[in-house]
């Protein structure tokens, strides 16, 4: 990006970026999260950051707020290089973030959540609660939030918690506010309020980095855009100069159907029927059918209730209503053990916490649910275990030094292969894959996709939860879109476009554009 060309832009008042990142690179074991990223944020302007999941947005937020340190690159505030070794350093420099998952304190009051770490002090340097409550009230009023500063945060809904986070950003006199998908869990009315708030912040001269998947809101509030793809900044510019389709193209970066395997749609009999599944707070009215050899995609925004529903289907949580039939017979599923016994298995999104047991060797991970088959009267049979693990590891083209290597030493993609191998070894009827390729390298991604197609061709039924539009379009026979815990739409693969998906997921019917 050329600095002088920015001044030449006729549109906006401010010419000097408050914050400028250049050449930011960050690697984790096995993954290069960011490489050579450039970003400039201007006062009084909203910059939209768009990119698919895993494009490096979250890592960038953590670098901006002092949680991660970049391996290479410069951070400049007002043209002077600066470092953010701690969260405090970042907030002292006037950079603050409103995170996707609110990182606040449920046990503390609204006022204290706003002022923790920089509370007003009174006599003897003691915290001035009256002053703090008054200050909090003041800020809350300023942003139009009708909240009592003395309320414990625990009692607030997610939308109100976001307002508290925004109030916190204002209380530290932040000049740069990062908003990480702030509308992901808000209702339409709440979103409108948030937009007004963003406008107010803009007119106060704050520089705002707005991360979002929703194109309507990007075009509603952003002045500039920056597109990230696979950890790199691929494009930036003025919102006025792009169309929605161009932005989607830049974000996805490749023609949608080229990298996906050929699929021959060969659907068989109905194998799974879900009727009226509901949960008190997480999802309601889930009805669908799944056929043998079918890949059914579940699309939706983060927090739409897809994983919550899948975990209920797998017996991790209990639904309040609803019934499941497998091969026409009612199946009661109260625990994962029962789900596995009925032939339903689940590859979770959170691989490290719910999928792989990273400290244990590959073969033990693979045989875990199949020990009943490999053992004799409860005693382990290592030869049988190695044989079973080998069969499935080699089928999935696992790259490992040995089968007794701890899973934690493998790359993300290979860890995912171990988790999939674990479930295939149980010879399931239905496999649920929750964000199967999130955070894994391109090569492993292709391998997982190819294998998914192969499994379906062999007659296994696949439910694939994914937030990546190309993956949904490239792999699914049918797509169900969820929004706010309910099924918003169901599409056949034929004639399905990214726009239709995005609109159904974001919940608006027809576009004016």
């Amino acid at each position: 990006m050329n600095f002088s060309s920015e001044i030449a832009e006729p549109v906006e008042v401010a010419a000097h970026p408050v914050l400028r990142l250049s050449g930011i690179t960050k690697t984790f074991p096995g993954v290069r999260a960011l490489s050579g990223v450039e970003l400039a944020l201007y006062p009084g302007q909203v910059t939209a950051l768009v990119g698919e999941n895993g494009a490096g947005k979250s890592t960038l937020v953590k670098i901006l707020t002092g949680i991660y340190q970049p391996d290479e690159g410069r951070i400049e505030v007002d043209g002077t290089e600066i470092r953010f070794p701690t969260a405090t350093a970042a907030s002292n420099a006037g950079v603050t973030a409103i995170h996707q998952e609110t990182v606040l304190f449920d046990d503390l009051s609204v006022a204290e959540n706003i002022y923790l770490g920089h509370a007003p002090r009174g006599r003897f340097g003691l915290i001035d609660w009256a002053g703090m409550n008054a200050g909090a009230q003041d800020i809350l009023t300023r942003i139009g939030a009708r909240l009592d500063p003395r309320t414990p945060l625990r009692d607030l809904g997610i939308a109100s918690k976001h307002l508290v986070a925004i109030a916190r950003a204002l209380s530290i006199e932040a000049r740069v506010v990062v908003m990480d998908e702030p509308t992901a869990a808000l209702s339409q009315a709440e979103i409108e309020e948030l937009y007004e708030l963003v406008d107010r912040l803009k007119s106060d001269g704050k520089a705002i980095l707005f991360i979002s998947h929703k194109f309507d809101e990007i075009f509603r509030i952003a002045d500039r855009y920056t597109v990230f793809r696979d950890g790199e900044m691929v494009d930036d510019g003025l919102i006025a100069d792009v169309s929605e389709n161009q932005l989607v193209e830049k974000m996805v970066g490749r023609a949608v159907d080229t990298i996906f395997p050929e699929r021959h749609r060969a659907v068989g009999d109905e194998i799974l029927t879900v009727a009226g599944y509901a949960h008190p707070t997480e999802f309601a009215d889930i009805n669908f059918k799944l056929r043998r050899g079918e890949i059914l995609g579940f699309y939706g925004l983060v927090g739409a209730g897809r994983s919550e529903f899948m975990q209920a289907l797998f017996g991790v949580t209990r639904p309040s209503k609803g019934a499941v039939r497998i091969d026409g017979k009612i199946a009661v599923i109260r625990s994962p053990a029962q789900a596995v016994a009925r032939g339903i298995v689940y590859v979770p999104e959170d691989r490290g916490k719910q999928g792989a047991i990273t400290a244990m060797p590959i073969f033990q991970n693979v045989t875990l649910p199949s020990l009943g088959r490999t053992s004799r009267s409860g005693f382990l049979n290592l030869a049988e275990e190695f044989a079973l693990a080998r069969t499935y590891s080699e089928r999935l083209d696992l790259r490992a030094a040995a089968l007794d290597q701890p899973v934690g030493e493998l790359s993300g993609g290979n860890q995912q292969k171990v988790v999939i191998a674990k479930w295939l070894a149980t010879r399931p009827k239905v496999i649920i894959l929750d964000e199967p390729t999130k955070g894994i390298d391109v090569g492993s991604k292709a391998a997982v996709h190819a294998f998914m197609a192969e499994l379906a061709a062999e007659g296994l039924s696949v439910i694939m939860v994914s937030s990546e539009i190309p993956e949904i379009l490239g792999m699914s026979d049918r797509v169900i879109v969820m929004r706010e815990g309910r099924i918003a739409a169901e599409f056949d693969r034929e004639g399905l476009t990214p726009e239709k998906l995005v609109r159904a997921a974001a919940g608006y019917k027809e576009s004016a554009a």
Binding site: F105, D107, A119, I127, E282, G303
Partner: protein, 327 residues
């Protein structure tokens, strides 16, 4: 709608405490007389002070089982110094006790902070080590009342404005804690670290350092109590306050200090300690063998932790709009 204050744990506990007093008073008149209540408070002072130190530790999701051994060791050191050099002023001895206690607490804290060893392991270990050191120091012998100077013994008993100094110290510690915990950044950091360690990092609070501070303060108070205990009972020996760490933890748990961290108040800890103190003093009045006390503490811990766990179960995230409105 019931005002929030009436639903708080402290209010429930205060109600239970009053009910207990009424029950005892109805059977044995005179127990709830001001003079006797003051005596019960005085008798519970040390438990209150230790429970407050423990509160900080538990707030940060840790536990300190070494407090009673710390108390025994510092108590023995002051008693032996007093016996050997009766000329040392009591103030100096108290300062020494606090300093030594701080050191012992800091040792726990540094192991938890820098080496990341689970607090339960650290303090189970130092529980035996500190107790063993009492034996090494004293060679297993006692320091008896007649070996202690009059000033040494008199200090906690001296009456000032109608209450013994021991009670006044407890009052001061309570007041100090009430202010420090609610109105200093460190005090609030204890809550932040235990409530959401992940978010504490985002707020710029150092989790390890805050835990270290909690252990150090707990140790300092245990040191102070070392002198108070030994001078009040006018005897020092290896098994002083043996098993008292459990009473301290019990007082906290009964007082609603959540073992999962981040929740609890100074008032709760004080009430929890008083609850145990009233039971302990009421048992002999009611003609029940003091041997019941251990089982009652144990049962109280279990009931309190089960009761507290009920209220703090985390719900899943609310996705349905209809559910959010009713929630």
């Amino acid at each position: 709608m019931i005002p929030r204050i009436l639903k708080s744990r402290e209010a429930i506990l205060l109600g239970a405490l009053l009910a207990l007093l009424v029950l005892v008073e109805s059977r044995f008149s005179g127990f709830a007389a001001p003079r006797n209540l003051a005596a019960v408070f005085n008798d519970t002072s040390i438990l209150i002070i230790l429970a407050l130190g423990q509160t900080l530790v538990i707030l940060t999701r840790c536990i300190d089982l070494s407090v009673a051994s710390n108390l025994a060791l510092t108590g023995m050191v002051t008693a032996m110094l007093n016996a050997a050099f009766p000329g040392i002023p009591v103030v100096v001895l108290i300062a020494l006790a606090v300093a030594l206690g701080t050191l012992l607490g800091a040792f726990n804290g540094i192991l938890v902070w820098k080496l990341d060893i689970p607090p339960i392991v650290v303090t189970l270990g130092t529980l035996t080590i500190y107790r063993g050191l009492v034996f090494l120091l004293s060679d297993g012998s006692w320091v008896n009342s007649h070996e202690m100077s009059a000033a040494y013994k008199a200090f906690p008993r001296a009456v000032f404005l109608g209450l013994p100094v021991l009670s006044w110290i407890a009052v001061l510690v309570i007041a100090g804690f009430a202010v420090a915990v609610t109105r200093t950044p460190l005090g609030r950091a204890f809550y932040a670290v235990g409530g959401n360690p992940h978010a504490a990092v985002y707020t710029g609070i150092d989790v390890g350092r805050t835990r270290f501070a909690a252990f150090t303060i707990s140790g300092a108070l245990a040191g102070l109590c070392g002198y108070l205990w030994v001078s009040r009972y006018a005897v020092a020996y290896v098994d002083v306050a043996g098993g008292f760490e459990l009473d301290v933890v019990a007082a906290c748990v009964i007082g609603g200090i959540s073992i999962a961290g981040g929740m609890g108040t100074v008032g709760g800890a004080v009430l929890g300690a008083l609850f145990l103190g009233v039971i302990k003093n009421a048992l002999p009045v009611a003609g029940i063998s003091p041997f019941w006390q251990l089982a009652i503490s144990g049962a109280a811990i279990i009931i309190a932790v089960a009761f507290n766990a009920r209220g703090s179960r985390q719900p899943g995230r609310i996705i349905l709009k209809s559910a959010e409105r009713t929630a």
